[in-house]
């Protein structure tokens, strides 16, 4: 069965087709939500933001030129809104939240368990990456974006995309090493 392409849906949405909007929303909202949630780390805020993102899709569909994939276009808007939302938070609130995400390096029971489970340890370390590194790792691994697409979403040159991903992975190895897991690299 052939599904209607995102480009076609956008064309219909530009013409005011709400059913097309429902289809596009159903197709992308979970991934966009997860992308935003990983950036803002607040479920209610992430829900509000994706509502805004898809409202912009409705409003701006006529301006979509098809120069990138629809999902890339939506993620670009989602990223912009997430970062704007983060900037709106007070410095103090941000500090509190950031502090809350930094894990105690002592071996609590959870960490001890993580050491036994390399996968769990890796996930824990993925959570501890900086927002910049989390973002690129998610875009490449989870959202399956090419170098060019990540460049378009994040607004950095393609060469920087590759090196940023490399340094994100390097940081991941360092965090794993702190947990007693040596990947032998870097």
């Amino acid at each position: 069965m052939q599904t209607t392409s995102d480009d076609v849906l956008i064309g219909r949405i530009a013409g005011g087709d709400r059913l097309a909007m429902q289809v596009l929303f159903a197709r992308h909202h979970v991934r966009v939500y997860r992308f935003v949630l990983r950036l803002v780390r607040n479920e209610a805020a992430a829900e509000d933001l994706i509502s805004e993102v898809f409202l912009d899709v409705w409003r701006q569909a006529a301006k979509f030129e098809g120069r990138s994939a629809v999902s890339t276009w939506i993620l670009s808007m989602a990223r912009f809104k997430a970062l704007s939302s983060l900037r709106r938070r007070t410095e103090e609130a941000l500090d509190d939240e950031t502090a809350g995400t930094i894990e105690d390096t002592d071996d609590d029971p959870e960490t001890a368990l993580a050491k036994k489970d390399k996968g769990a340890a890796l996930r824990q370390c993925l959570e501890r990456l900086s927002a910049e590194h989390r973002e690129i790792v998610d875009l490449v691994y989870y959202h399956e974006k090419s170098v060019a697409e990540v460049s378009s979403i994040v607004g950095i040159p393609e060469a920087t995309v590759k090196t940023r991903m490399f340094y994100a992975r390097k940081k991941l190895s360092e965090l794993l090493k702190e947990q007693g897991i040596d990947r032998g690299w870097p």
Partner: protein
């Protein structure tokens, strides 16, 4: 390992995450595969990349989904928005996107690659008709009377083949600027049937119109359809 080899190795290593995710071009994927086959250390690091890929997916999948209120809120907001009044450009753009999207990539690729050969054959037929109708005078505009190019009913039509390098944005702009609508195609040679005017233009007017359209950079070939 010389400097060039080291640079290549670094470049290949930078590409490993995209190779694992399957988002590299065929050429780059081939380069990475070759390097992995030759370099056990790189292959070991690639396994680490694959671990990261798997765990990133698992982490993201564990995040759940937004509540149903998001969709309800969104469509309540959309309901409060002024109704869309799509301009001609929007409807044309949407139609072009839909038209191209309805063709499989294989069909589109075939259209582009077959165009070179098919158009030579087509041009030969058309040139023959042209020489016959115009007494051998040279012109950039063509008319044909083949079955393929017979225009039925009211309106004025043409068959057009776009330049292979023209993207959908360029084509949309061309169609909008010239108030053209794609009616059908592609047929052999990557030709599309377009409506040039919704009335029957006089022969000379149609020829002039086609001459003007021929000048556009997105047009590889255009021929008026005559009854």
């Amino acid at each position: 390992m010389n400097a060039a080899d080291r640079n290549e190795a670094t470049d290949i290593e930078l590409l490993l995450p995209w190779h694992a995710a399957g988002t590299l071009s065929a050429r780059d994927a081939q380069r990475v595969e070759a390097a992995l086959a030759d370099d056990p250390e790189l292959a070991r690091r690639y396994e680490a990349v694959r671990d990261e890929l798997g765990q990133t997916i698992e982490l993201n999948e564990s995040l759940g989904a937004p509540s149903a209120r998001v969709m309800a809120d969104l469509f309540a907001k959309i309901g409060a928005e002024p109704a869309h009044r799509p301009a001609l450009s929007v409807t044309l753009g949407a139609r072009v996107r839909e038209f191209f999207a309805s063709r499989s990539p294989r069909t589109l690729a075939w259209s582009a690659s077959a165009a070179a050969l098919a158009i030579v054959l087509q041009a030969g037929i058309i040139a023959g008709v042209l020489l016959k109708e115009h007494g051998g005078s040279r012109t950039e505009t063509f008319e044909t009377a083949s079955a393929l190019m017979t225009a039925p009913g009211n309106g004025s039509y043409a068959m057009v083949r776009f330049q292979p390098q023209a993207n959908i944005g360029d084509i949309t702009q061309f169609l909008e600027a010239n108030k053209l609508s794609i009616i059908g195609g592609p047929v052999a040679g990557g030709l599309y049937r377009v409506m040039v005017a919704d009335t029957k233009l006089q022969r000379n007017a149609l020829v002039d119109r086609i001459k003007k359209l021929q000048q556009d950079k997105v047009v590889g070939f255009i021929a008026a359809q005559t009854e």
